[in-house]
Amino acid sequence: MTQEMSAKEFIARRIALELKDGDVVNLGIGLPTLVANYLPEGVHLTLHSENGFLAIGPVPKDIPPVGKPRTVNAGGNPCSILPHGSTFDTSISFALMRGGHLDACVLGGLQVAENGDLANWMIPGKNVPGMGGAMDLAVGAKSVIVAMEHTNNGEKKILKKCNLPLTVKSRVSVLVTEKALFRFHDGKMVLEEFAPGVSVEEIRAETEAAFTVSDKLKEMVISQTGL
């Protein structure tokens, strides 16, 4: 990892390479949203907005004032809808998730367990924002990609068992951190990639979860878009 690039940007750049042209994808708020900035040339996604439309477009030049009809994303911020988009009610929007109609979702994480459990919606007594759409997304998307920094001030986050309230059981497909990429195969966690300059020993030391090392282990390559 280069000195200048933040861990968040590095993670977003790696996840950008997980997505294929034409995929229908939901990007969570925060780090996951950054992924859209780093898609390689020729990769066009249809982004799902859980508040009720497909094909999120850029922020419009003239944003209608609060109180006038306007299009907003799931974070409540003004955006537009691309020409191939469509709008619908919440029931259809979440049917798209649970019904397996999204190729992938990218979610932030607080903890991930070795069996693919994810905790990302609350820290009891500290921060209780609510699960919003995260549980439905994680249950239903074909591929659940978690974007998460490897540790939190030295505290391990990739665990044998999550100790924070779960978002979903055994549904994580891919976990990308600034040090490693793990894939989950039949409930088993496999290290497939390491970040440049990071050893398997270092990854083991910072990971409580049990994992195997892929026989195809390789150095992580990230999207160069905009570099």
Binding site: N51, A74, G76, T90, R98, V128, G130, G132, G133, V139
Partner: protein
């Protein structure tokens, strides 16, 4: 046909302390602002409110939505999915001043749809193995009482049985209504509004524009007018 037009000053006659009200909207986008103000002005309190979230506390970012009633402490219980962008809602929950039941958005939508569709409940995989599945939900199945959500296994997969969610009143926002109550929503403002139109005893819509019947093509109607009891016209 009897007019559905309702003056904003008449809304108070539908309100009373302790009642249950659904409100449309997602981050305040699609929450009827004048109807929220009418609740505040009426002085009613101890409300149970059902809706997606508590919107923004910072009015420069977006509509305050139901946050107006949170800030003025009119709500006893809130059934919702996300309060993360409203610090006052979080504060009241942690201080125990307002009871908040957090449920997944897809589950909220389907519980409302179930109530409005004559279904006895819905089976969803969302929340299985999480605290959502442990929540209290009194229920009797074949004479046997349960005090937790039931997990039902169908062909090897677990689902939670989620019960219908209804209300005495639903408050909607539409960009266009005809005088019969046929509604059109704008873009992301549709969200829970059409589902709530099915699920409450009385449904009031705040419309940005009201047109004569026949103006909206039947193929373009998003909520059938038979579901709408009263229309508040633009100011």
């Amino acid at each position: 046909m009897k007019s559905k037009r309702l003056g904003i000053e008449q809304v108070a006659s539908f309100l009373r302390d302790g009642m249950t009200i659904m409100y449309g909207g997602f981050m305040g986008n699609g929450t009827p602002p004048r109807l929220m103000q009418a609740i505040l002005d009426s002085g009613v309190k101890d409300l149970t409110m059902i809706g997606d979230d508590t919107a923004f506390l910072d009015a420069s970012r977006g509509p305050e939505g139901v946050g107006l009633l949170v800030r003025n402490k009119r709500i006893k219980k809130l059934i919702t999915c996300h309060i993360g962008l409203n610090k006052e809602a979080q504060r009241q929950m942690i201080a125990g001043e307002m009871e908040i039941e957090l449920i997944p958005i897809g589950t909220l939508a389907e519980r409302i749809r179930a109530a409005g569709s004559g279904l006895g409940g819905v089976l969803t995989p969302t929340g299985v193995g999480t605290s959502v599945g442990e929540a209290r939900q009194d229920i009797t199945i074949n004479g046997k009482k349960f005090d937790q959500k039931q997990t039902i296994n169908i062909n090897g997969r677990d689902f939670l049985l989620e019960l219908p969610l209804t209300a005495e009143l639903a408050l909607l926002e539409a960009v266009k209504a005809d005088t019969f109550g046929n509604l059109v929503y704008y873009r992301s403002m549709r969200n829970h509004n059409p589902l709530m139109a099915l699920a409450a005893q009385t449904v009031i819509v705040e419309a940005h524009e009201v047109v004569e019947v026949g103006t909206i093509d039947p193929d373009h109607v998003m909520t059938p007018g038979i579901l709408i009891d009263h229309i508040v016209y633009p100011a």
